[in-house]
Amino acid sequence: MEPLIQMRNLEKVYEAGGSKFYVLRRISLDIQPGEFVTFMGPSGAGKSTLLSIIGMLDGSWTGEYYFNGEPVHRLNVKKRNELHKANIGFVFQSYHLIDNLTVFENLEIPLSYKNVPHKERVSLVCDILDRFNIVGKKDLFPNQLSGGQQQLVGVARAVIQSPKLILADEPTGNLHSAQGEEIMELFRKLNEAGTSIIQVTHSERNAAYSHRVIQLKDGWVVSETSNAARVV
């Protein structure tokens, strides 16, 4: 089976004051469709940067990166945006809902960027509200929701466009443990339904939900371990 993500010798460098600072060094990895992978490592290891590159938010790097067989390293910005729009959903630690939009509108936004017709948008948003059990919150603004509810909307927003891959950056970092567990259970179910997930976390407990844990340090991949004790 063709990997969903294939990276070969991927590097990212910052240049400051005439000297080079490597954020990522010779990253080579494969991630299969339907896999749930965790990136772990100390602060500054390059986890979030790698997540941004996988999510195609960051285009300044060298090496090879294939997404679902498409050579991302050869695509221009427009093509890369289209690939990202069609296949990837994001979940952030700070939720990053748009403050001035209601829950309904926050969910609608990625669809409108994909030029989904209005009727279809409404139908998809209603479905997802129902699926995530947040129909009653649809007209509320983010500041009227608890952290857990906001992250639930964040996950719903990532899922609404049925992405092949969800990228989650410390998705439970701002939540208390019960809320965190609820979100991780949600990820597990999405993964079981076929969505690939890559998360960045410091939490061993969250990492236990994934198939594989990749450890990074100073920009290098230092270890890869299959998760025998995965939460199921």
Partner: protein, 804 residues
Amino acid sequence: MSSLWQDVRYGLRMLANKPTFTLVAVLTLALGIGATSAVFSVVDRILFRSLPYPHDEQLVAFGLFAPIEPREFMLAKDYVEWRSEQTPFESMTTFLPGGADCDLTEQNPVRLDCALVESTFLPTFGIQPILGRNFTKEEDRPHAARVALITYGLWRSRFAGNAGVVGQSISVDGQPTLVVGVLPADFEMPTLGKTDLVIPQALDEAALEGNGPEPVLRAFARLKPGVSIAQSFAALEPLYEKSLENVPPQFRKEVRLSVRSLRERQVADSKAASWILLGSVLAVLLVACMNVANLLLARTTGRQRELAVRAALGASPARLIRQNLTESLLLGTIGGTIGCWVAYSLLQLFESIAPEGIPRLQQAGLDTRVLLFTLGVSLVSGILFGLAPAMRKPAVELLTRQEASQTSRGLLRQILVASQIAVSVILLTGAGLLLHSLLKLQNVPLGMDAENVVTAQIPLAEYRYPDAKHQLAFFDELERRLKHMSGITAMGISDTLPPSGGTQATIYSRIEVAGRPPSAEGTGGMVGWRSVTPGYFMALGVRIIQGRGFQNADRGQNQNPIILSETFRKKLFPNEEPLGKSLRIGPEAPWREVVGIAADVRNNGLARPSDPEYYIPWKFDTEGYFRVAQVTLRTPMNPETVAKWLRQETASLDPSVPVTIETMTQRVRKLSDRPRFNAVLLTLFAGMGVVLAAIGLYGVVGFLVSERTREIGVRMALGASPRAILRMIMGNVARWTMAGALLGLVGSWYAVKLLESLLFEVSVRDPWPVLAALALLLVAAFLAAWVPARRAMRVDPIEALRYE
């Protein structure tokens, strides 16, 4: 489309969620757009809008320029000759300059303004009467039955819009006159003079064959299709050369041919000021746009996280730009809508302070064209100020950090504020120069004492006072009555009054001094002259610096004294004693003895030096013109009381004679009305620019302080005193304020050259307006920066670091 509506809906919500930002931005834009629309509505009529004639671009004024007349003219004989030749014109026409007073002498007689025009006048200008017809060639001949076209205004006011007036006979100057047509509502004379009746000029072409004086005509024409003004000029040159043969050889160098567009003729005097005002108000709009761009940039910095989220959710760069531009266009449109009200109010202000003679000011208004302009300006402004913030790339890396914050040195914002300061320095310098010039103009020595002087203009109707004898009899009697009124310390009558122009004039070379050969070279320019009564000099406070003024005895039949102005004396008798010398104005005129020299009086407006002039006694004279007299009364009494007496006395002689009364100070003030109008408007715009720049500066410093709160906290934790923090902030402000001021100085150096034609006795390199502009702006900048800078001094380091 639905996504566009989505952007609009979100945009409106964003504006509603930030009411202070929205209010400041909308008011700033309303001010800029409103002022621009108001000025545009005025200058559009002068510079851009079509004249109310079909194919107005084909219409030209043509004729000769010579010292005897300030505008191009044709002598009747030349005109008739040119008309019979092949010309580059499809048609040509003339009318008598100045028009004429004429009275509607029916029940409730009323004095009207009549234009005396050739029968080709309406066809040449492409004007169709809305009722009736034009007068025919036969009706435009001497001794033909009198006919008239009436203007739309007169038709509505005097004849209640009754279509039956066409074909009726009305009484004009006591003579039956057939109304043949009614002119359209937008009819205007090409000279923009007020007109109620248009009547045939009835030029006596047969009489032109003799050697008598020829009428001076204003000539206009419609170019043949495809013929340019330059081509028509070239085509007329052979005719001009032929006409030049009739001009005495020594004068020929001072005569030239002129062909210019009708618009140029109408607005030449107002063109420079119009462009300057339009430029100034566009500069204010630019400052307003920069201000709003600055506000939006600050807000965009605060919205970095939101934009990054949108990008992460799949928004393309174009879509993000569209979202941002939608918001700025919404701001522009709301600002433009309120700007319409600002424009309306400013227009009212303009009309209330505007001097006479600004072409078509009364027609200026917020019509469809101006509203479309306002919409265009609003949208362009929206794009202009929205573009910089919209083009900012979202910082998606913010999303993978725990705290979504980004600091920026706000270089673009500082550049924008520096630019605002630069534009404000230019506007202030321009306003300063005009104000300085106005001050000089208002204090120019007049050569007379304008205080406590009441003047009255009294025109007599030609049909009631057909000759000089009757006219003089009326004024002699009026003089007799007024002279003995209590409270009048001096009283004079003259045909014209200073300081405006409009004296009668003669060619210098016609003046012959006894014992000298006649002048051989050129015309020598023009010399003005006035007929005055003996009391004239005392009434106006004009000093007689040598010899004497006129006496009653000088009005005797065989008395021909003359008084010269100082400038004229210097020209005529530079190294000789003038008193007792004899001179005459042309070979047929009587010899006159110089009896006195009068001090120079401003006689051609306030801005020009005194032209040479001479005075002759107010009495029957072949050269005299007595149909209109100017009565001058020196009196310490209330001018209104004096005016009432004056009217009563005039009415007791003839109740049909209109009297226009003004104090001399009012007349003088009128002459500086237009410079005052220009100065007031430019000062208003400069003031707007400074206020907007100060608001911009306040916003930027406030923004920098809030962005640097953490840095300030760290500095204070490390031991920086509040004064050191204040110095740091103000030092930063001073750097780009000075940069803006320097840029403004360079800009002013070039920009003020455009004002040169509007300045009086002030050089564009006058340092005071520049220094005053800089001082004012630095004070405004200091005050605007002081409030947020003080806030920086009060930052609590613990709070600042905890916040971060």
